[in-house]
Symmetry: C2
Subunit: 422 residues, 2 copies
């Protein structure tokens, strides 16, 4: 074991239905290489666990528990929203990281997150050069927003997309049943503050066998109330009902979010409402139709019960590949998903330099949005369909998914000093 | 076929994930008795289809299509909210029904709905006596609200309960992952304007293996803001986070719904908000915690993708039993579910006089609500658990549930007159 180094793994940012599948892939693969990777320590609550030397000793978990992570949503070790500053701005943070890594003989840094995390991971990857501490830093992609560049998709997205596509189809069936005498317009608000990938998935609810009228409001398309109302009116007239999928990031021409419509409660406090009730009330006031609205919020990103099998497989694969790349000597890379073919769908894992990833956001390309701005194109459909394909059901007990809760035993602290988070 | 009569079937009120399973059970059973039941006509958009002579000829649908109704949510023939008035108030409606029934040789009236529908069905069952038209009327229970009396549960409820229990568990896992640096309180709004059965199901998310702090706000318990805030505060202090499940029917001591908090939009219009944002903002203002909220709305009652197997089986069974009872000569009854044992769960179908059902609502009994008013008791857990047990997944195609859309071909009209709905 003389060549062996320990590893650090942390989950970062908003959690997903499948980020634990990446953890499962990583830890199971590391266990197969016990000659080169000693213990995998997980940061409790993400990078904060590294800074405060609050490490979880994952070797205390059974193989069965690590396998069960594959079907358990959320972040099993805790996640956080905490972005490391630049080396020049907060050198103390990086010195602290090195102190902790050195104390626990950590040679591999695996960071599982989105865009901000890619940036942090990139900074850590430079520690060998900047502060003389030898470490390999590898980023494992995760974000429901699907906004990381280079990779064909981001683990976490496919499952949210599947959830939203199913929810839109199911609710549309419901509204269609009742529209003669009751609700005619249903509005579903979905995540995606900057990019409309999740909203686009609502468009999959309609297909050749299911002529469901769906109007999508993307963050990428400035909201035009007149055109929107006209489209809803036309759909109700033709189909008897209309479904609307609105991104939380939908905004007016001046950049204001629809959700920030200046709503105030009885006490005059600004109300943090959603975009869905705003849009629904707009329809009511313009057309008089009875409406219903839903805000899926965390339900969509936590919905492991209906995760996409493609997504689960890819999440597991990027975790496993991170270890393989590390053992092959890679540093400062992000693991990627490469699409080889749309149908039948084929993919493989790949890698990209982190420098090409950090601080780049991927939006819906114009050719994925229909000319009128309210729908998706066939090209978008070809892109999305494989990502939501396949089911990967968790086990159930007494009617509920049997998700695992790890023991999360702390590793013994080795440093005498505490650390104040900045 | 001399003894044979045709049947009329209609779906009424809010649709569910499993009301079509009842239709499937009814039509499949009727097809097995072609010597006594000729054609099953379905009302297009419920009872309105009977009044306007807009009948769907279900014999035009294949056996495979009728079987597929078992896994398809919503109302396949259309539903409506339309309550027949009393015979004295609107005799014309009943005379029109008889005219249509006579024209299509209908001897069986099957009505699939909730409390209001039971009342309508009861009135139709009296037509033999009151207007001399021989008909057998049988009510098939359906309501997500679970508020029909006598029957142990109502088909439709178990699947919503399962959805809410799972959603609460999944979202709670999510919040727990992030609570150190982000969201600490998550609020989920669920259906149930009068009865708290659906809200109660949120309590199932926590069990011996999952110590999740959940505060439930029932319509049956008057809302006390101080006690509520104190409980949330205690949970956040002890667990780091708190989940809240609020019924849309939660109300203040004066009877006002929490959702009607006098919220106004930028134009001063009363905003039809939800209870969830009201409760979430209350927590923010009192305790300062970051929050998220979701409103499941139709997503919960349409969620056939995660329907309870118990519920699907029971929905099918009550539809099938309605035909059996009709052939045995019954009239003016509702089919019921009778519980024989909690664990292992055993049940059978039964029947009850419609006179005992119409206009009676079943609320959560006090012994199902914990003393503090914010949780469920073990007795409630014993009642609910079997109702959400088992999964009954629909088939999938390209990542989406392969729900059926029937042809719904109209039966040839036989009457020269139209009918104006009242």
């Amino acid at each position: 074991m003389s060549n062996s180094k320990n590893a650090f793994y942390a989950q970062s940012g908003g959690v997903t239905a499948v980020i634990n599948a990446s953890a499962s892939g990583l830890i199971e693969t590391a266990r197969q290489h016990g000659d080169r990777i000693g213990t995998v320590y997980a940061g409790r609550n993400g990078i904060i666990g590294a800074l405060t030397e609050d490490l979880i000793d994952t070797s205390q978990e059974t193989d069965a528990a690590i396998a069960a992570l594959r079907h358990t949503p959320s972040g099993a070790f805790g996640s956080c929203r905490y972005k490391l500053k630049g080396l020049e701005e907060n050198r103390a943070e990086y010195q602290r990281l090195i102190e902790v890594f050195k104390a626990h003989d950590i040679g591999y840094f695996f960071y599982n997150g989105g865009g901000d995390s890619a940036d942090t991971c990139h900074k850590v990857s430079q520690l060998s050069a900047s502060l003389g501490y030898p470490i390999q830093a590898i980023h494992i992609p995760k974000t429901v927003d699907n906004d990381l560049p280079v990779t064909d998709t981001c683990p976490g997205f496919g499952s949210v997309a599947k959830y939203i596509a199913i929810a839109t189809r199911e609710a549309s069936f419901d509204v269609r049943s009742m529209c003669q005498t009751s609700t005619k317009v249903f509005v579903l608000e979905v995540m995606g503050r900057h990019a409309g990938w999740i909203a686009a998935a609502g468009g999959l609810a309609a297909d050749v066998d299911h002529s469901i009228p769906i109007v999508i409001l993307f963050p990428e398309v400035e909201f035009r109330q007149d055109a929107f109302i006209a489209r809803v009116k036309e759909n109700v007239s033709r189909f008897g009902f209309c479904s609307v999928v609105v991104s939380e990031g939908a905004r007016w021409a001046n950049g204001t979010f629809l959700a920030e419509q200046g709503t105030r409660d009885a006490f005059g406090h600004a109300q943090l409402g959603g975009a869905a009730p705003v849009v629904a009330n707009m329809v009511k006031q313009s057309l008089g139709h009875k409406f219903h609205w839903a805000v899926a919020d965390y339900l969509q990103r936590a919905a492991r019960h209906i995760a996409s099998k493609t997504d689960v497989d890819q999440a597991y694969a990027v975790g496993a590949a991170a270890v393989d790349y590390a053992l092959a000597g890679d540093n400062a890379i992000m693991v990627t998903i490469e699409r080889l073919a749309d149908e039948p769908y084929r993919w493989q894992v790949g890698k990209v330099d982190l420098a090409a990833v950090a601080n780049v956001e991927k939006f819906m390309p114009p050719e994925f949005i229909s000319d009128d701005g309210f729908g998706i194109t066939d090209a978008c459909r070809r892109y999305l369909t494989p990502l939501i394909s396949g089911e990967d059901y968790p086990p159930y007990r007494q009617g509920l998914p049997d998700y695992i809760r790890l023991q999360n035993k702390p590793a013994t602290k080795k440093l005498a000093t505490a650390f104040e988070l900045g």
